[in-house]
Subunit: 304 residues, 2 copies
């Protein structure tokens, strides 16, 4: 049972906070009446720390509250309490470079779809090591496929609410992995690119940088917002507009953005290989890295 | 804290089975690494018992395995084990009329979307009292609205897999309740009726009975299948075909089917009131009730 052993090793390296209590992994549990468990009725954020500093944590907290708003979920917790518990968990982990997942559910209620029965939240924070990704991921890049699974439509369940309803993405990555790809990109009903399973998508063609708009059906990534800002401030030619799978496949450069990965090039989409020089991807990476270094220095959300 | 008190009273009446162990409600918990909690990566069934007999339990188990197939979820448990645990929990509850919820998750894994990391399931069974619905619900019927939330599309997440990704339905019922309705009906992208949040939808117009096909995007309800069979055997005029919101509003009779509700008339949809005689609804209800009585007598899945 290799998978079981790997899971045990993984668990041993985690630090978990359940409603304010640092709890050993074996005991880190949630009621079966928790709406996160019953319905995926939860929201979450993933950020990481570098040198003990939670990177862009204000932006992640803003987005957490925005997810709650989109789902009409009351957050009974104060923002300061979430910050305190996140830093407490990070400190307990003793990790300087950590993955930090903050989950807030609509709490435990009688079995009843109607969320107005909710009267509290459950707050779970999971911290685990986040070693840098292999250098090859940044020099060469990842191999993705465009999934046959369409991204959830905004009129059904808004991808801009980062919620515990993640089967759509689970099905997409599962298909991709089975076919030998690293991960999946998802399109909407109009065959326009939306996002990857856990990252935003960018393309460069003839010097123009493109990334899909919120209306395509995506989560407004924190890194995406930062890169948009960099493009505007540094006078890159940026278009936040829809593009099709076909246009993506005809790009000069393709890359992804995510909080834990930063800017990572994409080497292949379906059977199309992108082996041009990554001129713009590399320029943006260097500028984004400066932002990260600035974050590390600012120590606003550091336990050290 | 009325809601908290109500939840406590609810919990006191439940009987819970966690991976084979009957567990007091306070201790009935699941790991925070359970994929059902993290991603809604779980499947479930709800049935009920009458006179201690689990109604249409074979059909529910078939559907549970079908949900697993649709999500490529391995069920490591034997069917016989699930039956044994369900009956054990029901017996422990001492309830003759009970609501029985069976949840199977893809188990605990390291935090990783890819479901191939799964190596076991978690099996949770929740039994609670299921008193008959108020008689008024059957003589008059319920008040529903057509939700502005579209049903999940089959190409994104197939509603025919009964899964723990239920935010789509949570958002729809929430909207309906706020506006004073009992529950919600959902349409697809083509404005064709799919289903209610936890029930299938039927209409009768000029003696023709209609219910939407699977391709509209719905869960093939067990009661729906039984009523289709009744219609065919008894030579009712049945069409399993798409119809729009507008057609629904022009119906002579409207009703819903669900495992716990059986056949329940719908009195109102949006501002349209259906106050014709419920001739066909009542005929089908009587025939369906005969099937239930037969099930009660058969005692295949009874703890008594």
């Amino acid at each position: 049972m290799d998978k079981m052993k790997r899971f045990q090793e993984f668990k041993d390296k985690t630090t978990i906070n359940v409603n304010g209590e640092i709890t050993p992994a074996e005991d880190a549990k949630i009621s079966v009446f928790d709406r996160g468990f019953l319905y995926g009725d939860s929201i979450y954020e993933v950020t990481y720390s570098d040198h003990g500093q939670l990177i862009f944590f204000n932006e992640h907290l803003d987005r957490l509250y925005n997810s709650a708003n989109l789902l009409n979920m009351t957050i009974f917790l104060e923002r300061e309490e979430i910050i305190k518990e996140a830093l407490k968990t990070l400190k307990q982990s003793k990790l300087e470079r950590a993955y930090v997942r903050i989950i807030i559910t609509r709490g435990e209620t009688e079995i009843n779809l109607d969320p107005s029965t909710s009267f509290k939240n459950n707050l779970i924070i999971i911290v685990k090591p986040q070693p840098p990704y292999p250098q090859d991921n940044y020099t060469k890049g990842l191999k993705l496929m465009i999934s046959s699974v369409l991204r959830n439509d905004r009129k059904s369940i808004n991808p801009n609410a980062k919620s515990g309803n993640y089967l759509n993405n689970v099905m997409a990555i599962s298909e991709a992995k089975k076919l030998g790809f690293d991960d999946a990109i998802m399109v909407n009903h109009q065959d326009k690119i939306t996002e990857g399973t856990t990252f935003n998508i960018w393309m460069v063609k003839d010097g123009i940088i493109k990334t899909p708009p919120e209306t395509s059906g995506l989560l407004k990534g924190i890194t995406r917002q930062k890169v948009i800002k960099i493009c505007r401030e540094q006078n890159f030619n940026l278009e936040v507009s829809d593009f099709s799978s076909q246009m993506l496949l005809e790009a000069d450069e393709v890359f992804m953005t995510s909080s834990t990965k930063g800017i990572m090039p994409i080497y292949q989409v379906n059977d199309k290989i992108f082996n041009n020089e990554k001129i713009i991807t590399n320029k943006l990476s260097a500028l984004y890295d400066e932002l990260i270094q600035e974050q590390i220095r600012n120590k606003e959300f550091s336990y050290l």
